[in-house]
């Protein structure tokens, strides 16, 4: 499969799935939406998914060793910045800049 068809199908797939998640509440309306199980999942699934995505981003790096220290340190920096300023852009740019600095100095 060449690049064009591969990326086009990925984009079409992700576009479809994303639209589906946005359209779902408008399709099911109140019938299923206030089922207590959905409420329970709606409350607790999003935070769980976010934590899993943080871990997944490092799936090839996570280890109980010093090699993981730069990643861990920069995640803590992101957390500290976000708790201090609560500006997504500052937290993301600050943590990423620090990580790039470390990696390019050969620490990461």
């Amino acid at each position: 499969m060449n690049e064009f068809w591969y990326l086009s199908s990925v984009i079409a797939l992700l576009a479809g799935v994303t639209f589906l998640t946005r359209a779902l509440p408008f399709m099911v309306l109140g019938r299923l939406a206030d089922h207590p199980l959905l409420e329970h999942l709606g409350r607790f699934l999003p935070p769980i998914v976010m934590v899993l995505l943080v871990i997944y981003s490092f799936k090839n790096d996570v280890a109980f060793s010093l090699d993981f220290l730069p990643e861990l340190g920069c995640l803590l920096l992101v957390t500290a910045l976000h708790l201090a300023f609560r500006q997504a852009l500052i937290s993301i740019v600050g943590g990423t800049a620090m990580y790039m600095l470390l990696v390019q100095m050969g620490v990461g």
Binding site: E3, L7, S9, V10, I11, A12, L13, L14, A15, V17, T18, F19, T21, R22, A23, L24, P25, F26, L29, G30, A33, L37, H40, L41, G42, R43, L45, P46, P47, I48, V49, M50, V51, L52, L53, V54, I55, Y56, S57, F58, K59, N60, V62, E71, C74, L75, V78, T79, H82, L83, A88, L89, S91, I92, G95, T96, M100, L101, V103, Q104
Partner: protein, 233 residues
């Protein structure tokens, strides 16, 4: 050039989103350019997918050569928050037909919060306002994605380590979730399940397995609570 009161309001309301979407879109673009595809694909993603976290995730998945199934499930899950908080908008969207479809397509976190948080003067058409805010927000995002991807393909500076924007974004979203929920349990559970899956079961299939495990835990917990409280609870 004079703007109509409607367009003035749309511009003024959407200004904070512009300051967020231009740099965030550009960050996505630069990250995407690391994959060595043409910058037009970044524009296409902003045009057809139009999801901040979803598009960042897509870069990670493409870089990891994830399968199409993994991509679909991961995207479904990261966007699942939309399912749960889109409900309050149903009665507040006067548009019908293609306008309504486009608005649903463009219902990002930021557009949602602008539409729900702005009180309109009586002489402003609510449907037109919502439609134009949705469109101008996507325009900011498209410009950001395109400029970022183009710059990333032109510039010679070393972008080593820039992929960290992805976990940084997820970390920020995690903290926002905590501020909203004020309950540590789901975070501790997710940390245990995520690390456990990664180290003990599978690195490659970590995301899918961990999500299925978490779903089972939540369902068991739900079932336990129901029996505990009795069927009426």
């Amino acid at each position: 050039m004079t703007l109509s009161p409607l367009n003035t309001l749309v511009l003024r309301t959407s200004l904070p989103v512009m300051f967020g979407y231009l740099p965030l879109g550009a960050a996505f673009g630069v990250l995407f350019s690391e994959l060595d595809h043409h910058w037009l694909y970044a524009t296409a993603m902003g045009l057809f997918i139009y999801a901040g976290a979803g598009q960042f995730l897509a870069v990670g998945l493409l870089a990891n050569q994830a399968t199409l199934t993994e991509m679909a499930v991961a995207t479904l899950l990261i966007n699942s928050r939309h399912i749960f908080y889109g409900l309050s908008l149903i009665s507040r969207m006067p548009n019908r037909g293609w306008r309504r479809l486009y608005q649903i397509f463009g219902l990002t976190d930021e557009t949602y919060s602008l539409i729900t948080a702005t009180s309109l003067p009586a002489d402003i058409d609510r449907g037109q306002f919502q439609l134009r805010v949705t469109a101008i927000n996507q325009l900011y995002w498209l410009v950001g994605c395109t400029v970022g991807a183009w710059l990333g393909s032109q510039l010679e500076f070393s972008t080593d380590g820039i992929a960290f924007v992805l976990p940084a974004l997820f970390m920020v979203l995690t903290i926002e979730q905590y501020k909203h929920l004020r309950d540590m349990r789901p975070f501790v559970t997710a940390l245990a399940i995520g690390l456990g899956t990664l180290l003990l079961i599978s690195r490659e299939q970590m995301l899918l397995i961990a999500i299925l495990l978490s779903l089972s835990v939540l369902m068991m917990q739900y079932a336990a609570r129901r029996t505990h409280k009795g069927p009426e609870a």
